[in-house]
Amino acid sequence: MALFGTLLSISGSLLLTPLLLIVLVILFLASIGKSVGVRRLYVKTLLALFEYGRQHIEIANKQKRLSDDSGFNSEDEGDNKRIRSTSETSEESQQRGRPKGHHRNGSIKNGVSLIQREDLILAPDPCHNKSDHNHRDSSAPRTSNIRSHSVGAPTRNAANSAKGASEKGDNSEQEDEIDSLALDKDHRKLSFETLKQEFELSDCLTYIKAGVEAIIEDEVTQCFEAEELRSWNLLTRTNRHYEFISWRLTVIWMLGFIVRYLFLLPLRVTICFVGFLWMAISTSLISLVPSRRVRRVLNQHAMLITFRLYARSFSAVIDVHNPQFMPRSNGICVANHTTPVDIVMLATNSCFSLIGQRHNGFLGLLQRALARASSHIWFERSEVKDREVVTKRLQQHVSDPENPPILIFPEGTCINNTSVMQFKKGSFEVGSVIYPVAIKYDPKFGDAFWNSSKYSMMQYLYMMMTSWAIVCDVWYLPPMTQEPDENAVDFASRVKSVIATQGGLVDLMWDGQLKRMQAKKEWKERQQEEFSKRLKVE
């Protein structure tokens, strides 16, 4: 028994020393802000592994399809597409780190779409209703309005043009003329204005189809769930099917499991703990310093070290683009929100003041620690409703040139990093310079999205620390200011589309608060108004 005890203690101390050494090296590197490149090498290895895994899955799937081919002889688009979709990921893995091209805004790009929406797609503001999949922007209704005709639905034209004159009464002749111009089904027909049309029984069909399409696939509800991966990344949590594919993959998965849970997890937890200790100690010490100037400088360095430690505790690999646009003086920095860890990703390079709701629990502790050493703005929930107080405090903060730039997430809630939802106009009313930042995570290595309705903070952190790594791209964008004739809402939209374009995200008009609240009645009323405008009444 005693022998076993001594063996244990010897092996413990043997393993402990190199572990401690590793931790110390990491701490040292964090404090000077340099990296040896271990994480990047790790990520490269993982990529090669995923590629191998993907090819393997493909081969296994092919064999499976060959073996039970008789059951599925469908000629339509069919199961063969599934194999083809997995083969696209080889280009994807080469393009890691670059945005996946310019998405047609409004198209559903979360994983693979199930349907293609060709007709009506409703939006909270009817001038953003997409009536045709080629014609995404809102200029179509406006041009028709200029000619003082009301907006017409394309479907009416399509039906009429194909079928000729209908018995619509006096307007039939004029409609025929217009219809004969709009013969083909593509988007050019939208630019032909239509007269107000009489009600027909077929008018409702467009809305019915739009409704059923929304039930099958809609832009909003999928933003609040983790992104679907095209190919399995060897984590159980992303494997929808839990089916057995091959022995080799299972072995790789088991090795990965051991590495992640038994080696990486303790390492990461240790570093995170050290980071937290450092933050607590340094902020308490800094708060004792009397001189504000000195405190600011010390705080800057201490925060950088803190967040670098946190970044290492997730094995974060951050690719920074355009560092010349990094906010140095004060101002408002605006970014898309996926997780609270966004702050860590951004704060490894520059120092920010933060603004947000006061939390309880673990986040609350962090908030209080940070507030000791520097000026952050934490709100009580009741105060958040009072927008004037928020704006005033923001203005106060921004007007003092000594203050660091303030980091705001105007979406107000975490979105799953495939789209950018409506930016709240509050931070755009302050009148200061806006520094947009786009953050895009690579979901293959670990899904960074915090689904707050499903997981608590602790569960989320645990999942983060047992993923492979967190890999993200950060793009700093040129600063933007409000144009003289632009209101805050349009300014917010403009900034949002710049961020969405850079990050390769879908630009949505919908409010992120739909995560928790129901759609507003006014939006339905606006759709009703839109339809009534097109209806001819005697």
């Binding site: 199930l114 909270p124 209908s166 209806l535």
Partner: protein, 189 residues
Amino acid sequence: MGNTSSLLLREDEIAQIQEKTGFTPNQIERLYSRFTSLDRGNCGTLSREDLLRIPELAINPLGDRIVHAFFQEGTGDSINFLQFMQVLAHFRPIKKNKDLKLNSREQKLKFAFKMYDLDSDGKISRDELLAILQMMVGSNISEEQLTSIAERTIFEADQDGDQMISFAEFCNALERTDVEQKMSIRFLN
């Protein structure tokens, strides 16, 4: 409570649904994962609230009627996956030389007819049409004007003079409409 929702469908369930609706196994699986993600309470069925939680459906003027179409066959307040699929099957595109399960032109027209026929008596009365019009325009047009629109529509479609539109008259009125395109959803895979 034996009604647990499993993440996977069994092979025989998929085959059964394929037989009844004509969807491919891949589509069935994708739609099943959509079904489970809409099913917040994880009870294996969807309620009306689950569907109306979709913002784009909630702002659709006919949203309530569409949801009602899913809950029609005396199924009470919840539908299971098969019932869900059977409604969606109406919107499959029509392909030549293929067995039309639930997506023939007549089936599609029947679905559209049910949108208008509020009391499911097989006829669209003037009041029903008026109610639908009110759903579509809200309070933006007065009731008198809507009534006259409803009366005119019935007058144009009514052939047997009973002041109501039967299913046959409805199909006749929509003869020139490209129902196949308007009531079909393009599935990608």
